[in-house]
């Protein structure tokens, strides 16, 4: 029965070859969680290329001091769009896309709880991206920075349509994101396979659950703040206009109340993917699942109370500064717990260095550095010096590239066989990894130093006598080295779709439910809804003499 469906979904369909418009129509009108997941991922990859080109242009301009390759206004527009694109139209969509594809499969469900809402979520996100990028066609992209500090966004300082496109686009895509978050929560709480209690969900599912909780709590305040910006600009309201009683300071609080949970929205699913990949490729069960789960919850809760650490230079009172420093430093405790548990999972294992594990190890090695510079930034007086400098730029790229991007690549390499039925080319994947890693280190390592040497972020040029040029030049070379790694990835993803080795149902010999069905899975995911007794149902099947459910929760 199951094999018949496999036939139907790959060989037979390929043999008959309907015209491409059929596939297009199929994808545009789909409510299937897997196809929507793929749409999210494709959208994110397209925006990744766009955001990457913007980054290269930024680096090009900064190669020489006092260069004038890119005029100042365009430079400001480029870094605004780069930040906005990477956070809202690459980071979130790719994670939500992977979640869309794999959460129902991993919990043994046939689809998300609300398939049509799911479709709405994707198309709203997509439309949001289109609206933001429409500003290019209108000839005036936003140049207010991705956190758009008031009153730069007021009509007085930003007359064109760019800021309107930016605010409207994020508002619309925010609706899509909230729809996605609500859908995930309903799916994970309500549609788990029989026997899969909430404490037995695969770890990726657990992190998506808490990411969704953060989405639901943190995106609406951003929506409210964006509405206020639009009211200011179009109805003459005064929220953020200091001349007429509004407050520039209030915007900062509102934005970062969203903005900090946002970075955990971007990192928790990454933690989830790492927690899937490391056990499978170390051939060991995840060490300390309960503590990892608690740490995830801890991060989700603490993240709602740390936002003002982005504002240590605005002249807050001492108690506020010390309080937010303490809460921010607290985040390092659950994050450390995760780090140690991953290492403990590898300890005593039989580590297989396939490409997903390579990226996961890259994640471990780089993310710890970004986490530790985060500790430095949380120590308020240090932040007075390095805040808004290139040190901060280096820090958050280390956690977002070293963290989110490396983990996403680990996840994509891990799950690509499931999504397409074919393996990615390992050799290309390894080249991609090493080029990316080297380019990454060369780009962002020197930025720590230029920041320490007093270089502020977001400057389109710099005087030649500051000693910053060499570090900028290395960073630009690093960015150019990174670029081909993304090309390799795209070539691999597209090429392997047709020429990759057939994957079979479970190429990595993994243990969660998505590997129990065919690759790619049939429209209904599972012929029979599996019954689950532990966190690793396929391990239990393979090792009936020594199943997990005998041991879980008894390791005191």
């Amino acid at each position: 029965m199951q094999s018949a469906i496999v036939d139907n979904s790959t060989e037979t369909r390929m043999a008959t070859k309907p015209p491409w418009t059929v596939y297009l129509h199929d994808y545009i009108t789909t409510v299937d969680h897997k196809k929507i997941g793929i749409l999210y991922i494709l959208m994110a990859l397209v925006f990744l290329v766009i955001g990457g080109v913007e980054a290269i242009l930024i680096r090009w301009q900064l190669f020489w001091p006092r260069a004038d390759i890119i005029p100042p206004k365009l430079f400001n527009q480029l870094f605004t769009m780069h930040g906005t694109t990477m956070v809202f139209f690459v980071g979130m969509p790719i994670l939500i896309g992977l979640g869309n594809y794999f959460v129902p499969l991993m919990i043994g469900a046939r689809d998300m709880a609300f398939p049509r809402l799911n479709s709405l979520g994707f198309w709203a996100t997509f439309l949001g991206g289109m609206i933001v990028y429409f500003s290019f066609l209108a000839g005036d992209p936003p140049d207010v920075g991705w956190f758009a500090y008031a009153p730069l966004t007021e009509k007085t300082f930003s007359r064109g349509i760019g800021t309107d496109c930016w605010a409207t686009g994020l508002l619309v895509s925010g609706v899509g994101t909230i729809a996605g978050g609500v859908n995930f929560i309903a799916t994970i709480v309500g549609l788990r396979a029989p026997g899969m209690t909430i404490g037995k969900v695969p770890f990726f599912v657990w992190t998506i659950l808490w990411t969704s909780a953060q989405i639901v709590l943190a995106i609406p305040p951003l929506s409210a703040a964006l509405i206020m910006v639009l009211l200011d600009r179009h109805l003459g309201a005064h929220f953020f206009d200091p001349q007429t009683g509004g407050s520039a300071y209030l915007w900062q609080h509102l934005f970062w109340f969203f903005g900090h949970p946002e970075v955990y929205i971007l990192i928790l699913p990454a933690f989830g993917m790492i927690s899937e990949v490391i056990p499978v490729f170390s051939r060991k069960v995840l060490f300390g699942y309960e503590f990892m789960a608690a740490a995830t919850m801890g991060i989700a809760f603490i993240s709602l109370g740390v936002w003002a650490h982005h504002m240590f230079t605005v002249g807050m009172s001492r108690p506020m500064e010390i309080g937010f420093a303490a809460s921010s430093l607290l985040v390092s405790i659950p994050t450390g717990i995760k780090m140690f548990n991953w290492l403990a999972t590898m300890q005593g294992g039989k580590i297989r260095m396939d490409s997903p594990m390579l990226f996961a190890c890259g994640f471990l090695g780089v993310f710890v550095f970004g986490g530790l510079t985060g500790v430095m930034l949380a120590a308020v007086p240090i932040d007075w010096q390095v805040s808004d400098s290139y040190f901060v730029v280096a820090h958050f790229h280390t956690v977002l590239i070293g963290g989110t991007l490396f983990a996403t690549f680990a996840g994509l390499h891990y799950w690509y066989p499931k999504m397409t039925g074919r393996m990615l080319n390992e050799r290309l994947a390894k080249w991609q990894f090493w080029i990316l890693l080297i380019g990454f280190l060369l780009t962002f390592g020197p930025m720590h130093i230029s920041g320490i040497l007093g270089m502020p972020r977001r400057i389109y040029t710099y005087p030649p006598d500051r000693g910053w040029d060499i570090w900028n030049q290395v960073a630009t070379i690093g960015a150019l080295i990174q670029a081909p790694s993304f090309v390799l990835f795209l070539v691999n993803v597209i090429g392997s779709r047709w020429w990759g080795k057939p994957a079979g149902n479970n190429p990595w010999n993994a243990w969660t439910l998505e590997w129990a069905t065919s690759s790619p899975p049939p429209a209904y995911n599972f012929n029979e809804v599996p019954v689950v007794r532990s966190r690793r149902p396929l391990w239990d099947l393979q090792h009936p003499e020594d199943p997990d459910w005998k041991y879980e929760g008894e390791h005191a």
Partner: protein, 386 residues
């Protein structure tokens, strides 16, 4: 020394702006020259890596406004905190990376029977408790130290040294330049305004001369950052912030706006000149006097007053009372124009007035494009404002 080289570079930059024809090639050549120069410098620096470990400012050079090269007790406190946190996190970093490398080597699949699954270990409560408790302790220690440094550095009536002669200045951030109102020194009220270059007195043994800055903004958010003097503090419209530091080291300190504030955020440069108290007092009395009124440049003054200059600029003792742009009363006492972007020479001044957009695209001063004879008179007049 540094100022001279900066002026030369600025000079070269200006020159290349003028030469539209071979602009690109010049830029490339100039940049490459600079690049090669600094590359070789830094290679030499890298060779002296041991020196780096002892004092990083050796490598980074005295040119850079490095936060590891502080000139005030405040910036020094922050540096020591930074070193301490680097030490703590460095140990953790080495530990984690070491473990990762060791595990990857030791538990590589190749070294053991690839087919059998290893022993499954589900977790251990004592171990989890241990690696929760130790980071918690570390966090606690860091918070305690942060509190201490916070009290040491942040502006507060109690942190000002007892035997001190404070200088109080109101700093107003504008798109894209700095306004300084000196309003009190040694308890005596002052009333003088200057722009972009801050001149301050150094303290001496037993007498501190704290600089008390009041930070405000006329338009959008800016941030005041001179790394060798102190951490940054934002200038936010509708709020009044405070920043203070004191130094005993005479010299030039550079920095720039650190909060994105629009098109020319990159060219909102900060120059602080710390001079001996005597020199400072002389400078202060020069600045407090009204503008020079030299009959030889009366024609130029007429041009200045008849053009729209007066809408934005002030020259004390004349009808020019604009507050939108920098006060020009003692323009010639400043080393740079355009918020530190180019050096203050008659040629630069001329080019600037002709078309500021050519030098600082997007800035708020319009192009005047006066006819040559008028421009000569105007530049001569401005040159008399010593």
């Amino acid at each position: 020394m540094r100022r001279v080289s900066s002026q030369q570079d600025a000079e070269e930059f200006r020159l290349s702006l003028r030469m539209e024809a071979n602009r690109r090639s010049r830029r490339l050549a100039q940049g490459m020259e600079l690049g090669v120069k600094s590359l070789s410098n830094h290679l030499l620096g890298c060779l002296a890596i041991t020196a780096l470990l002892l004092d990083p400012s050796n490598l980074w050079g005295s040119e850079s406004p490095s936060i590891f090269d502080p000139a005030t007790p405040q910036a020094t406190s922050i540096r020591s905190l930074f070193w301490l946190v680097i030490l703590i996190t460095g140990v953790i970093f080495v530990g984690v990376e070491g473990l990762l490398a060791f595990f990857l080597y030791e538990y590589s699949r190749k070294k053991s029977d690839p087919n059998a699954e290893p022993a499954q270990v589900y977790g251990s409560i004592p171990i989890e408790v241990a690696w929760t408790a130790v980071p918690t302790l570390i966090v606690f220690v860091i918070v305690m130290i942060v509190v201490r440094i916070e009290y040491e550095v942040k502006a507060d009536a109690e942190t000002i040294p007892a035997n001190s002669i404070p200088l109080r200045i109101r700093v107003v951030g504008h798109q894209w330049w700095w306004e300084y109102n000196y309003f009190e020194y040694d308890g005596k009220p002052l009333s003088m305004t200057t722009a972009n270059e801050l001149v301050i007195p150094v303290g001496e043994e037993g007498v501190a001369r704290p600089i008390m800055l009041t930070l405000e903004s006329a338009d959008v958010c800016h941030s005041y950052w001179v790394p060798r003097l102190s951490g940054k503090t934002d200038l936010i419209p509708g709020r009044v912030n405070e920043l203070w530091f004191e130094t005993k080291l005479a010299g030039d300190y550079v920095g720039q706006c650190a909060e994105y504030c629009g098109t020319q955020h990159a060219n909102m440069l900060l120059h602080v000149r710390a001079v001996s108290p005597d020199e400072f007092e002389k400078w202060l009395s020069d600045q407090a006097s009204p503008a020079a009124d030299d009959p030889a440049v009366a024609e130029g003054k007429k041009v200045f007053l008849s053009e729209t200059c007066v809408n934005c600029h002030t020259v004390q003792g004349t009808p020019a009372k604009g507050r939108v742009g920098p006060d020009l009363t003692h323009l010639m006492s400043r080393h740079t124009i355009a918020a530190g972007m180019i050096s203050n020479t008659p040629e630069n001044l001329r080019d600037w007035i002709h078309d500021p957009q050519d030098i600082k695209p997007g800035c708020l001063m319009p192009a005047f494009r006066l006819e040559s004879s008028k421009m000569d008179l105007l530049v001569k007049y401005l040159g008399s404002l010593k």
